[in-house]
Subunit: 191 residues, 2 copies
DNA sequence: TAGATTGTTAATCGATTAACAATC
DNA sequence: TAGATTGTTAATCGATTAACAATC
């Protein structure tokens, strides 16, 4: 996407991201001085700087564990590449899925996980399995030396003590409860 | 789920939720005194109090807009009922889906949205459509008087100015970038 | 009574906002 | 030069943590 915009001010940037201009400037200044007084930020330069900071040039690799509807939705619709992540495989128990291709990426049997990870370095595992197997799989993944777990199971999971895997949770339920609560408050006259 | 536990202390509760005991006690005390010194919190009482506070007794109703893989995953696998929300319909453009049932809930043509909402009060719309149509649909939904939008599109959307619809975003991308960043930091020696 | 654990106050921390000199 | 907009400092705000008297 190229909208032909060369420069952008912290104010505009903030508005389009739902943040204040102050917040933008303060955050960016933690990493260096990308802007110019009286001018703003050069879009191309800014993008490059941010890519570096976020480690997007590092080309992390990811695999999807559990290819149900959610796993499949992520494989087909989520633009991993836009965030510097290359999806290299999907894993599922269901034999009907093995060999299938979703979003350019093949689905393998779960038994192949260990050997796959040995041959292809994997930095991130996307966990989209039923809750019952979330914890054991987390332990397996952490033992395989995977660095990050992107957890979509709505369950708290814990890597093995010996491992340093970082867990990032996407807890739908927290988000829905927050929304329910805000709706109820709204009509309340509370606040 | 009943694990036969009658009472629980703020410490245990916090540990299992990844919060501190202080945090638990302070949060609960905003809404009243549910606990007893030297005893802790009665699990049954606590659950009842929290249900009230979170408005779960309010039985919000929800519809899913866009029944691709993600919409379908939510309809089939996410336990709306556990959070006091009743799913009453799904909507999609694709005629092949019309009349299908996912997770007990029927899929209707998008054209029927307006009349459906008039006949069945809907408090929450779950937005799981392609990014290109996210904004126009948001405006439509806000005009229909829907109170909350649960936004899965990874795009910022804005209701009509005249409407009071609350938007709760589930931005996968923020979460993935955060994970990428943490992984890169990890090995760095930074920090 | 002694031990446990609350509710609440005060202290700490971090994040957001406001303000403004520096300067393009 | 005048206007715009940064980077940075200081002020504000809210959320988390620590501490402890109250009390079951």
């Amino acid at each position: 996407m190229n909208m032909g915009i060369e420069r952008i001010s912290s104010g505009d940037l903030g508005e389009s991201m739902g943040l204040t201009a102050s917040q933008i400037r303060q955050d960016y200044s933690c990493f260096g001085e990308f802007g110019q007084q009286g001018y703003g930020y050069n879009v191309v330069r800014l993008r490059a700087e941010l890519a570096t900071i976020l480690g997007m040039e590092q080309k992390h690799t990811a695999i999807v564990i559990g290819v149900g509807n959610l796993g499949r939705a992520l494989m087909e619709n989520f633009h991993f590449e836009s965030y510097g992540v290359v999806l290299t495989g999907g894993f599922d128990l269901n034999p009907a899925l093995h060999g299938k291709i979703f979003g350019d990426v093949e689905i393998f049997p779960l038994e192949c996980l260990k050997s796959f990870v040995k041959e292809n370095p994997v930095s991130i595992a996307v966990l989209a399995v039923p809750q019952a197997v979330a914890q054991p799989l987390t332990e397996t993944l952490s033992k395989l030396g995977i660095q990050g777990l992107w957890n979509f199971t709505n369950v708290e999971v814990k890597p093995c003590d010996s491992a340093t895997m970082i867990v990032e949770n996407v807890h739908f339920s927290d988000s829905l409860l927050a929304l329910s609560y805000m709706i109820s408050e709204e009509g309340d006259g509370t606040k």
